[in-house]
Amino acid sequence: MQGYEGASKWANVDRERLYLAASPDDDASDVLECGDARNARLVITVSDVDGADPGVTVVVQGRQDAADDWEDQYTGTELTEDGVLRTSIFPLRFMRVTATLTGEDGGDVGEVTQTVGTGPGFTISGTPLLTGTLTVTISTGGAPGTAEFDWDLDTESATGVAIPTTPFQVVLTDTGLTLTFEDDAFVEADEFEAEITESAPDTSASIDAQITLARKQGPQEQR
């Protein structure tokens, strides 16, 4: 819509909308060219928030040129349910709406991403949630209770750990950690690595940003 009749004079505004069906595979809207808009008034409606532990953070980004990096111009408060965000910004020439989806709904076990050499078989089970417990079971490669191995996980490590008769457990302090089993006398392994990854959050949401671009009033538009 182009403009409207205000209380005393013509208001020179453009009304635009940006939609985003936020999901792990879709986190940015189309791009809106703001032209000479001096001010952008945004009403951002977040609906259909879904997920086991949902969290949606809407970020409005801008840039002056298609070759530039996007800059964050507005970051909304994290929403865990449907809600409306309102703000006003000085827009750069181009604008888009993005969403950051959070939540810790794992569900997948840790994934072995690299195996080097030979040695004990092991399996990983447990939900890879932050601060959750991941269970590593060593099944072969030495007598439980007597054979030893070394391990390190991020900044934590241990040497000379006896292969336990009960499953070996570690606590996750971050995602993307590497659990490494190093060569040892009773573990016939050069190196084992198990990448602990948190599965993508299953959060999704619909985002409808209604944008009023306020432009300078030109002589031809005054009444």
Binding site: Q64, F90, L92, K216
Partner: protein
């Protein structure tokens, strides 16, 4: 100078240059020339630091109604390594950039954009 948007709409913009008056390589604190915005209401600026042999650069965009008393309209993120940043600022009748140079050595910086 204005331009046509991708939708063919006339956009009334004016180029803005707020480079340091001493040149784009500064070795001490510096300011830009004073720019009169008139009835322009918004500045869209891009700062590009292409070299930094000093410690850091902190750039503040300032406004004034009388060219004497200056107030802060906004700041760019402090730069310690070559980097570019685009940011929008509210307008004022007069504006300038103030470059706070820390450390020894030259910093190459360019600051330009448009007013709307």
């Amino acid at each position: 100078m204005s331009y046509q948007t991708s939708k063919g709409v006339h956009a009334n913009t004016e180029p803005v240059y707020l480079n340091p008056t001493v040149g784009t390589s500064i070795t001490a604190d510096a300011v830009s020339e004073i720019l009169e915005l008139g009835d322009r209401a918004c500045l869209r600026l891009r700062q590009n630091v292409t070299a930094n042999a000093a410690t850091s650069l902190a750039t503040t965009i300032e406004g004034s109604e009388d060219r004497v008393n200056w107030f802060t309209l906004g700041t760019f993120a402090t730069v310690t390594t070559p980097a570019a940043e685009s940011k929008s600022f509210p307008g004022a009748r007069f504006v300038r950039a103030s470059f706070n140079h820390t450390g020894a050595g030259a910093i190459a910086v360019a600051l330009s954009g448009e007013a709307v």
